[in-house]
Symmetry: C2
Subunit: 414 residues, 2 copies
């Protein structure tokens, strides 16, 4: 199975750098918020490259872009490869862009080597993966996969009151194709890990077996504002102390699950937030993630009970609003197997890994056999202008993407 | 010693309500920020009442107002009674105003009963007790007592850049008298407790023996921002967890001192404060108070050591900036004794109490024999538009103020 067909590492890197010019920030990052003029420029450059590679482009009602390289057999379902070109407000050069431009590099390599495939291959750019403008991440893929109703997505507004529908029209990307699944053979997405595991273990490739389950909460602890100097211990109802003990609970519950556990309080607002007033109210977030649905269900029950017990012991009120429970999303065993085999065949250091972050692939996996490929990023840093990867890791990931797309597009059908 | 000389409870209450009209808020509170047009109106009403009571008024370079009722012996040092007329931005009707208007009621009662005193009695209105406009509480009394240099006070600016000196000129209260101590026999200040102790024990009078010692800190915990989904427990440097454990430490150290302990984290700012990012930095305040200087010194040493140990155990950085240590300020034993004896003589339920809040009396006590009288306030609530007291408690406090001012002004000199 091993061949000497190699993607062009330099061309891939040059494309990454050229895309990073669009929305470049002074600190070396990227600000390419979805459906802005900057995103429009990024899409235009991508379109130009697709046309140069001979691809035919379709745009759907959510602005998702599908650039098709025909196969020998027009009846075969296409193999989808891609990711997203939008970024966080202070984002990096590689989050999303790597997956799209590596997919383009796969096409360019097939063209260079005059390789025809049985099935078509389509490069995908999903709209609004990041969610930072309209408050809902994975929006384009979510609508496409049927997880988010189109009406609801169109109605979401940014802080200036501009809706998704208006923003799509403004950039000219409310396309004619329906935003719903079409028959596809597989979906592969290359992405930076956005975590420290591969770098720490010095492995080039993460074979992503699926996405974690997660549960998110908003909590509000209510006590009584009072004067820090005049209120004796017996009369205090200190919402801050209650919140602090729940922060510690979240950390302990995470660590009880070992290295697969995730538990975070990332947001907190203290009221009235004055140094000589015992806080009467603390609003904060909590979230847990774990590869196992059963573990997340167990965490959910125990967390709610223990948080309520902490508040009750302090005479505090507590409201726990469970925002959602997302089940674990295992990826397709055959597709994951192709990724693992390719890494083995090419002698690349690799390991199985569960995605801790959300990705378009998690929604797509609901309707199409899916797998993901991770490559290391420096210090696990992402959603940050300092986000950085090594060119050889970008090339390694793109090479794996090439291998699995080709294998899948030429696989014998039963 | 007991007499049937009684202050006029209704007149006192009417004066409180009339003063509360100036800067009245829709929710029944008061917004009478120091050295504003509203404060000027309050000062004008107070001046009018002083003149009607036959008092002669002096204003010093900090706008502190001294309204004098002459004594039989012009050589005797005056007895000072008063408090402040400025309020918090969302303040109540009684914080400060009670002490000034009860002092005025003492004068009115002496006038009604044609009582001459040996020593003069002066009603005082201290400028800017609250500190909410220029960021420094107890400003007028602080300059007067020599704790704050006049230059420094004049240079303080509000959020619009207006300095104290400019604000004094704008309202016409930069007076000709020097803002420094003059010989005075005693200072008595009636104030609401601003805490729950008297109300809980159903006592009308708090015999204030002094003010607590206190130590204030700013802390900064530094970890590393990272993705909540992708960062395994072993790779986390969660500043929020460190801050939470220090909040719990503050509470535990307070409770270890019993009912005299105070320990509060009132302010916290989390960075980047995003629900799916492990916080990389948390800024927060901490403060402790206790009647004993030795206890505060012991708390200071233990707190700094234990907070550093908590951060170190989590691999976090910590900066502890100790803003100040204020020593305990005991009040004058003879003056405190007069308050206690008056309450006993009049059969009022009372108890000794240590002031948890800062008061003008704490600075004045550095240079003049001083005592304070507390009365209960509803639910211990203050610095709040809902601040509320019972008319009978206002009257009880004013009656004690009358008794002690009269006793001190007529005391035989050695």
């Amino acid at each position: 199975m091993s061949t000497n067909q190699r993607i062009d590492a330099k061309r891939l890197w040059d494309s990454l750098m050229a895309m990073a010019e669009i929305g470049a920030t002074p600190k070396g990052g990227v600000r390419r918020l979805t459906l802005t003029e900057v995103d429009k420029q990024g899409r235009a450059r991508f379109t130009e490259w697709c046309r140069a590679a001979g691809l035919s482009l379709r745009v759907d009602a959510m602005g998702n872009m599908f650039a098709r390289r025909a196969g020998r057999d027009p009846a075969r379902k296409p193999v989808l490869i891609g990711s997203h070109l939008d970024s966080q407000p202070s984002g990096g050069k590689f989050d999303g862009a790597l997956g799209v431009l590596a997919a383009l590099e796969v096409i360019r390599t097939l063209n260079d080597l005059n390789i025809e495939t049985d099935a078509p291959i389509e490069v995908v750019n999903w709209t609004d993966e990041e969610g930072s403008r309209f408050g809902h991440s994975l929006l384009g893929s979510g609508v496409w996969a049927g997880a988010v109703p189109l009406d609801k997505a169109y109605a979401l507004a940014d802080q200036q009151g501009v809706t998704v529908a208006q923003a799509l029209d403004a950039v000219g990307y409310r396309g004619p194709e329906p935003a719903r699944p079409f028959p596809a053979d597989a979906y592969f997405e290359l992405h930076i890990e956005q975590g420290p595991i591969l770098e720490r273990e010095d492995r080039a490739i993460g074979v992503v077996t699926g996405a974690q389950a997660m549960v998110w909460y908003d909590l509000c602890i209510t006590g009584q504002d009072s004067h820090a100097g005049t209120t004796p211990p017996s009369a205090r109802k200190d919402a801050m102390v209650g919140a602090a003990r729940i922060v510690d609970l979240v950390d302990r519950m995470m660590r009880a699950r070992g290295e697969d556990g995730r538990g975070t309080v990332g947001f907190m607002e203290v009221r009235p937030n004055s140094r000589n007033v015992v806080p009467g109210e603390v609003l904060f977030s909590a979230e847990f993630r774990h590869p196992s649905d059963a573990e997340v269900a167990a965490i959910d029950a125990a967390f709610q009970a223990e948080a309520r017990a902490i508040a009750a012991a302090l005479g505090l009120g507590i409201e726990i609003n469970r925002l959602f429970v997302n089940p674990a999303q295992p990826f397709d065993v055959a597709c994951v197997g192709l990724v693992r085999e390719a890494a083995q065949r090419l002698g690349m250091a690799h390991r199985d890994i569960v995605s801790g972050a959300g990705h378009d692939a998690v929604y797509v996996a609901r309707v199409v056999p899916t797998a993901m490929i991770f490559v290391p990023c420096k210090d696990g840093l992402s959603h940050n202008e300092a986000e950085s990867i090594l060119p050889e890791h970008a090339a390694a990931g793109a090479q794996i993407l090439f291998e699995v797309a080709l294998a899948r597009a030429n696989r014998p059908l039963a």
